[in-house]
Symmetry: C2
Subunit: 358 residues, 2 copies
């Protein structure tokens, strides 16, 4: 696994470095240092309130001295290319022999100077939004797996689908259950060190990419936790979400929701339907391929007070009849319990009816 120097120049602690924050939260042991000259000399804990004593440095050299062997572009950028400051710092990182992990739409390996410099220095460039070669058209390949597959779905994009699966990953580990996270987006890929950005593949291969990630994640696992993307009702991303659902063929779903959000991300014209309707719709469109069941609700309560958050969770439990929690703010146990109980139930059913494995 890589040891990252995370580039967040002039942006650490702001929404533009959300990727950096997630990698630190869910993959702390892989982060050697953060690069932001504004906060150099302080720790990640000082800025984010978590992350412990990971140092913030002001140069690639200082990051390498802290043990980094990889350079992660941990900021978001509007548009396609590599901003000149990113580009220049990547060049320095390559010269220091650091592998490059880049999730921007502009690819480091396509840059004539950086690409050839990386080859010259023997540095590996991971442009994680570049689709892998040899993807297949989806054809139900995950049916061959015995593992329990759980997918996070949501009433909108950017609502906590990656987060709940990473919380489940960590909580299952503490319970001694072999759960493995299947990364389908750039931040998840940085955290796990592998995966496929399913929204970056050619449209014909969305489900095939989801199959590939699910099958890969099943190795050494009993439960596969597939990172969701978008929403099957999002005007821009619904195709990705449905291809992911039909490629990963989950036995069970975790529904992600935010009560205060009334309209879809970047689409203020479109109201988010009631959570129960969205859950029913997911089950209807998944079931013809493989019957699926929603196990619980992951509520994003980041914009609520503690009291409001508890009320929201209680109301959602009543409305849906499902275990509900905000797995970051409160204990993820209700969802962890539901996943473990479902997995046991499924395995005991399979043991009773071995001929009908599905």
């Amino acid at each position: 696994m890589p040891r990252y120097l995370i580039y967040a120049q002039e942006q650490f602690g702001t929404p533009a470095s959300k990727t950096a924050h997630s990698v630190i939260r869910y993959s702390r042991q892989q982060v050697a240092a953060v690069l932001d000259r504004r906060h150099a000399g302080r720790t990640v804990q000082d800025i984010l309130g978590f992350g412990g004593d990971i140092p913030i440095v002001d140069s690639v050299a200082a990051g390498a001295a802290r043990g980094a062997d990889a350079f992660l572009v941990g900021i978001a950028v509007a548009g396609g290319g590599l901003p000149s400051d990113v580009r220049e710092t990547v060049r320095v990182a390559i010269e220091h022999g650091l592998d490059i992990w880049n999730g921007l739409h502009g690819f480091v390996s396509d840059d004539p100077e950086l690409g050839s410099l990386a080859r010259e220095r023997g540095v590996v460039v991971h442009d994680v939004r570049r689709p892998p070669d040899g993807l297949l058209v989806g054809a139900g390949r995950v049916r061959a797996l015995e593992q329990t597959i759980v997918l996070a779905v949501g009433t909108d994009a950017n609502i906590g689908k990656m987060t709940v699966m990473l919380q489940l990953r960590d909580a299952l580990a503490t319970r001694g259950v072999r759960g493995r996270f299947a990364p389908t987006g750039q931040t998840g890929i940085f955290i796990e060190g592998w995966g496929v950005c399913v929204d970056a593949v050619v449209a014909d291969f969305i489900a095939g990419a989801a199959e590939q990630v699910t099958i890969e994640a099943s190795r050494g696992a009993d439960i596969v936790l597939v990172e969701g993307q978008g929403s099957i009702l999002h005007p821009g991303y619904s195709g990705v979400s449905l291809g992911l659902l039909h490629g990963s063929l989950p036995h069970a779903l975790i529904a992600c929701h935010q009560q205060s959000r009334k309209t879809f991300r970047h689409n203020p014209w479109l109201e988010i339907p009631p959570l129960t309707d969205v859950i029913a719709l997911h089950e209807s469109i998944a079931t013809p391929l493989r019957p699926t069941r929603t196990l619980g609700v992951s509520l994003n309560t980041a914009d609520l007070s503690d009291r409001e958050a508890r009320v929201a969770i209680e109301r959602t439990t009543e409305e849906t009849g499902l275990p509900t929690t905000d797995p970051v703010r409160f204990d993820p146990a209700p969802l962890v319990d539901a996943v473990i109980a479902y997995d046991r139930e499924r395995r005991s059913e399979l043991a009773r009816r071995p001929a009908e494995v599905s």
Copy 2:
């Protein structure tokens, strides 16, 4: 509009040249000649039973002499590249000054020799599976259109979605209604001379590509007939189908079905659900973005006798309560009538409630 010499070497009249047959059926006036040495000297009518006196020739020169100004690769090829025979004939076509229309996964303009030869001769290469630049993420842009939008959907891929919309295009024209076909796949693009292959774009842009095609087709039309792709339950292509549905935001649907087909294309493990379930599912997943209604059923009866076909149509009408026909084998009138009636009804409702245009 181009005047095609259609390349179907050694394959004309076989399933491998299905693209050629469709272009001839729906765009006959644009076909100058067909290239297949096996049938040179005969007419298209001799081989297909339609197409009239379009000549079949044995060389690019003979096709150019018949008035072709464009060369269309009218065969399907397994895998990625350009087969050597295709490549060599494309080279000759460029030397004759013919524009190139290519729907294969291998792009002519990416071939170093052919690409530079084309530039040298001033020949335009249309690699129609190459996504256009500047695609946007879908965001409900077609809501600004006043036209009635109709989308063909299906219980499976390759079931007649393009065909029914082209039959409707032609039938609406004879009724004096301004309907325009919105091409979303390579054969439709060859027929209309423009369009976007929505299954070839990066996954994030499926709905955006569908919006672009729908908006473009609305110019000068009262009814937009959007070519469907795949099926929202197809294990490989459902993402494309849903992105197309949520990008084109149809007011109304035509459902395409084949009674004899029991399992999904290339997925014998998966049964096709009952037509009425598939219709209901489409309406459920479309309606949160824009209410939609299924106007009729286009039945593919190619594998049935005349008597069986009539029974199938009658049974489908009973099951669904919807106008049903096989628009190629029989009169498309039931569907044409349904579309025209829906369009009139919608316009009179809009006239009554101008503030609620949607």
